[in-house]
Structures are given as structure tokens and as C-alpha cells.
């Protein structure tokens, strides 16, 4: 039906502009859930969220309610949150421990952590002569078609076929290498608080904003200036202001003309990287101590390599933004064509000194919490975009900034010299979108 109404999905996306319906049409939204989110690798959570057998977190993959659970085999399984009997959700809480097995609250069917049927009350007498029984795979809780993890970060794909996780991530896997390598032990663990914020806008608007280097000094000017004034005042009083003020003031002190000096790298499948700008390697005693610990663990040369990885954040299409040098990430869960949930997590670098955790925590609290002084203005813009796009005031969304001047080599699109504000990331994301949407089944 939809295919009839939309004869050629590729008509929605041109190299430098897209139709507004891409953000506003509920039927297109259903189609992108089918063809993108319920097909490609979607981030479920970190293994340290479920350290003990039976620990679980519920998570939305596309439109599907899923459970990420630690099994007795110590593996992390991802299952549909649905009892195969009458369809009851098995886990009603957001997270918890299910004990030795899942037990449905409706008729007491029980299941192993990998989804296999364990018991049905009065199974022999009740199901004699029927097709229901332990040998029937329809009696198991359906697992995600594929589950893989990379350095502790668990992904699921609801499609049987497709690239492996590492093939899909390609060079964007650097997000997880960077965050983990910054730990002297090569590992991170989750800080068990998740900030959850709902945006009244299409999921793609958030993703596009993540690498939009033109917006910070406009959107976040008020916070940047406010933080800069207080930062200067503290410096005058005490000689030095905490780095957290700089994290906020950078939004204003890096003025609009300077953002072209940064760079974005755009990969296949819509993944992309914005290079760093916050100067997170000052020469204060805490940082120097951290560098000593890292050098001891990895050697001087490798330490230098790790700390010179130049990333502000990595976007893993279609639903994860990783800010590896500050150990945090935002997972994007589309709730509807104009409603999106972000789940925001912070991680500890195992074995790194406490001040490094605290420095990143300040950013987590100030920028990524529900009282954010930064995202407040982003979310306002996203909502305004959504409402504006729903109007008949125009058909197209324009992505022409620095168009035609991108440098492409080996499948990677780099913004040209002094063109950091190029809309190449939006062009790259929409190109990937069109490929996913029109791919053969």
C-alpha cells in the first residue's frame, strides 16, 4: 500500500536536499522502523548494566520491546519482551533481576534466560495431543535474530541476515576503542544512572544536529556567555576556574567563524565523526597524573596515540551518539514520527584516577542531565523544526552548505580544509537512509 503511494522512495532524497515528508510522514516512519531500526545493529546497552545472572534491562529496538538479560552461561541475551502463550510482557519494570528464570505474571509459564521454555503449569495434562510442548520452538520466547557485543557494548539486529556488527560499524568502531583505551585497563563500566529525556521531534533531527558545527555558537550562545562571565570572575578571584566552565563557555568563545576550522569525517551507513574542540588535555596535576597512569599501562608511545585521538563525538547511525573523550553516550529511541526518547549514560574508565571521572561527570550533569543548560535550546530548535516542517510552507530541507567541495577517498567523505560547518554529515546520513529504505529485502 505504502509502496503504491510512494512509488520511488529515492525521490525523497537528492544529494543536497530532502523532502520534508522524511521527517513528518507517519507512514514513512513505520517504513523506516521496518527497514532501518528493526534490521540494522541497534545499541541495547552495556554489559556492566547487567553484571549478575538474571539482571535485566528492558530496551526498545525500533518498535519492539526487548529485554537484555544476563544468562547463567554468563552471556548477554536479547529477547522480545513477550510471553509466547498470550503475549504478556515478561518484564514490566524498566530493570531488575528476574532470578533463575523468567516467570510470566499471567499463567506462570517459565523460561530460561536465553528464552527457552522451562515449564508450563500442568503441561502434560493441559497440552496432551496438542502441538504445544517443550519441543516446539514456538513455545520459546523469541530472541533477537542476532546479538553481538564489541568491547562490552551490546547490539542487537532483528534481521537474520546482514553485515556483522564490526562490518556494520566500520571505522565508527573507534567510538568504543577510544572510550575503552582511555582506561588503563582497557575497559569501562556504566555509572548506574540513566537520564531519559523526550524530544518532540523526529529522530533524524537529533542525529543531524549532533554534527552540525554551525549551530553551537548560535543556539548555545546564552549559556556559553553566561559560563564565560562566571569563569572569568572565578579566575580573577582564585586564579583558575574548573574545566567544567570551559566546557560550557567553549560554546560561545569558539565563535561562529571558527567552527569551519574543525572537521567531520563521514562513513558508509551514515556513521560520522566530529573532531574535538574542547581542549580536554590541560596540564593540570590531575591530567598529568592520569597520563602517568596511562603511560604505565600502555607505554609512552601508545599513551600519546590514545590521548591524541581527535574526537568530539561519533555518531553511529541510526541511533547512537558517543562522546568518547567524556565517557558518555546518548541512545536514540524513536517513539513516533514526532517523538523521540534519548537515554543518556555515563561511564567510568576502569583504573583511571577519580578526578577524570569527576571531570566527565560535570559535563554529564551540566550538558546531558534533564536540567541541561545546553540541550534545552537544542530541543527547542528540534521542536520548532518539526512544527515548521509539518507546514505547507515549503517542500525541501536544504543541505547545500559547502556542497560539492567534500573530499571523498576510500568511501570516506571528509569536509574540505576550513569547511567544518559543511552539511556533509546530513548529506551522508540521508544518503545512507535512502540506501536502507530502498534496499532489496
Amino acid at each position: 500500500m505504502l509502496q503504491e503511494r510512494i512509488p520511488d522512495l529515492s525521490k525523497y532524497v537528492e544529494p543536497d536536499r530532502v523532502r520534508k515528508a522524511v521527517y513528518t510522514d507517519p507512514q514513512l516512519f513505520e517504513l523506516e522502523m521496518q527497514r532501518i531500526h528493526e534490521k540494522v545493529w541497534i545499541y541495547c546497552g552495556h554489559e556492566s548494566q547487567v553484571p549478575k545472572v538474571g539482571d535485566y534491562y528492558t530496551v526498545q529496538v525500533g518498535r519492539q520491546p526487548m529485554i537484555m538479560v544476563r544468562g547463567k552461561d554468563n552471556r548477554v541475551h536479547v529477547l522480545y519482551n513477550r510471553c509466547p502463550h498470550r503475549g504478556n510482557m515478561l518484564c514490566g519494570d524498566r530493570h531488575g533481576n528476574t532470578g533463575e528464570f523468567f516467570r510470566c505474571s499471567y499463567h506462570a509459564w517459565t523460561f530460561q534466560h536465553d528464552g527457552r521454555l522451562r515449564t508450563i503449569p500442568m503441561m502434560e495434562s493441559g497440552y496432551q495431543g496438542t502441538s504445544w510442548g517443550r519441543d516446539n520452538p514456538d513455545c520459546n520466547v523469541k530472541p533477537a535474530a542476532r546479538v553481538e557485543s564489541y568491547r562490552g557494548f551490546v547490539f542487537a539486529s532483528l534481521a537474520q541476515d546482514g553485515p556483522t556488527l564490526l562490518e556494520f560499524l566500520g571505522r565508527s568502531k573507534i567510538a568504543f576503542d577510544d572510550i575503552c583505551d582511555r582506561s588503563p585497563e582497557g575497559e569501562v563500566e556504566v555509572v548506574p544512572t540513566c537520564f531519559r529525556v523526550v524530544q518532540h521531534s523526529n529522530w533524524k533531527i537529533f542525529l543531524e544536529n549532533q554534527l552540525d558545527a554551525l549551530h553551537p555558537s548560535v543556539t548555545h550562545q546564552s549559556t556559553g556567555r553566561a559560563a564565560h562571565e562566571v569563569e572569568k570572575e572565578i579566575e580573577k578571584r582564585t586564579g583558575k576556574a574548573p574545566l567544567s566552565y570551559h566546557m560550557l563557555s567553549a560554546f560561545a568563545t569558539v565563535t561562529i567563524d571558527k567552527w569551519d576550522g574543525f572537521q567531520t569525517l563521514n562513513y558508509p551507513h551514515g556513521h560520522c565523526i566530529l573532531t574535538g574542540y574542547m581542549g580536554l588535555r590541560p596540564k593540570d596535576p590531575d591530567t598529568l597524573e592520569y597520563e602517568r597512569v596511562l603511560a604505565k599501562a600502555y607505554g609512552e608511545k601508545r599513551k600519546e596515540e590514545i590521548l591524541s585521538t581527535n574526537i568530539h563525538h561519533v555518531l553511529i547511525y541510526p541511533g547512537l551518539s558517543v562522546q568518547s573523550p567524556l565517557q558518555q553516550l546518548r541512545a536514540v529511541r524513536p517513539l513516533g514520527v514526532d517523538k523521540t526518547l534519548t537515554e543518556i549514560w555515563h561511564f567510568r574508565l576502569k583504573g583511571a584516577p577519580e578526578p577524570i571521572y569527576r571531570r566527565a561527570l560535570a559535563y554529564y550533569n551540566l550538558v546531558n542531565s534533564p536540567s541541561t543548560m545546553i540541550n534545552a535550546d537544542d530541543l527547542e530548535n528540534f521542536w520548532k523544526c518539526q512544527v515548521g516542517l509539518q507546514s505547507e510552507g515549503g517542500e525541501w530541507v536544504n543541505f547545500q552548505r559547502h556542497f560539492g567541495r567534500d573530499i571523498e577517498k576510500d568511501g570516506v567523505v571528509e569536509t574540505g580544509p576550513n569547511m567544518g560547518t559543511s552539511e556533509a554529515p546530513m548529506r551522508g546520513q540521508m544518503k545512507a537512509w535512502a540506501q536502507f529504505m530502498t534496499a532489496e529485502k
Partner: protein, 178 residues
Amino acid sequence: MAKSKPVRKKKPAPKPKATSPATQHAVEQFLYCQAEILDGKRWQDYVDLFTDDGVYWMPPEPSHKTWDGMPAIFAEDKNVMTVRMKRVLHPDAWSQRPLWGTNHVVGNVIIEKESPNGDVVARSRFHMMELRRDDVRHFAGSYLHHLKKTGKGYRIKLQRVDMTNAQAAYDYVLQVWV
């Protein structure tokens, strides 16, 4: 069997300490004035209610015992509060430009502790209605105030805000103190 949740001994509800009607009255008046200052958007007056080492804290979970080194929705000293105030007052704080207003009601005031020097620990409950453009949101929860008695009246050493809404996903965000 699936493990049932361990039965935790519930902490008995703290008994209100006998306190003088004068203290009760003074604390209540202080909390009412604080509500008026917030609803009146008198941000500098609000920041001035805090002692120099005062902290405004909203934990994301009731189990948190300290703001220090913990994820927090708010964990602000006077410097950070000043950033927030200056941001909200900046003409280009885009998201604060639309029609916006709040209405706090504070009640259930219990004096938990009164020290010989007049410092007070008080618990209370609040309900805040917020209007933003055409949307209304409701927030409710409890306050814990550590108040220092000074020549100019009470000053806040710690204001802990346990907002019941904090457990659920936030529909949009909070821009100023509750």
C-alpha cells in the same frame, strides 16, 4: 523459584520533634517566601538565599546520599547557579523566550532538627505547576532544607529536592530550580 525481592525493613517515619511555634512559623514563612521568589523569577534573590558554600541538589534517585561525585539532575553551588541565572536572563536564551511561568505550593512542613544555635533541618512537600506556551506540566516532590540562622534570617546550606517525576523520563527539560 524466581527470587523475590528482599523484604527491606522500612525505616520508621521520623517523628516530628517538638519545636517552638515560633520556629515552625519562621521556617514556614521562609519556605513560602522562597516559593514566591521562584514564581516571581527573582533569580538573584533566590541565589542570595544560599550561604556562600550552599548547594542546590536534585538527585535522580531517592537512594542517593550525597551529590558529591554522583550523577545529579542539579548539583549546583552558587557559581553554577549564577551561570544558570545569567543564561536564563540572556536575551538569546531561545527556549526561555516563550511565555513561561510557575506556581509553587509548599506544605507539610516538619522541623526535623533545631540546633542550639538556631540552625534548622526541615522537610516539606511541594507541588509546582508550570505553564510553557500552551502546555502545562506538573512537578511534585519533597524538599529537605538545611537552614543556617543568620542576622538576616535563614540562609540555605543545602536544599535537597526529591522530585517524584525524576524517576520517569522527562518530557522536555527543566531550565531553572524547582
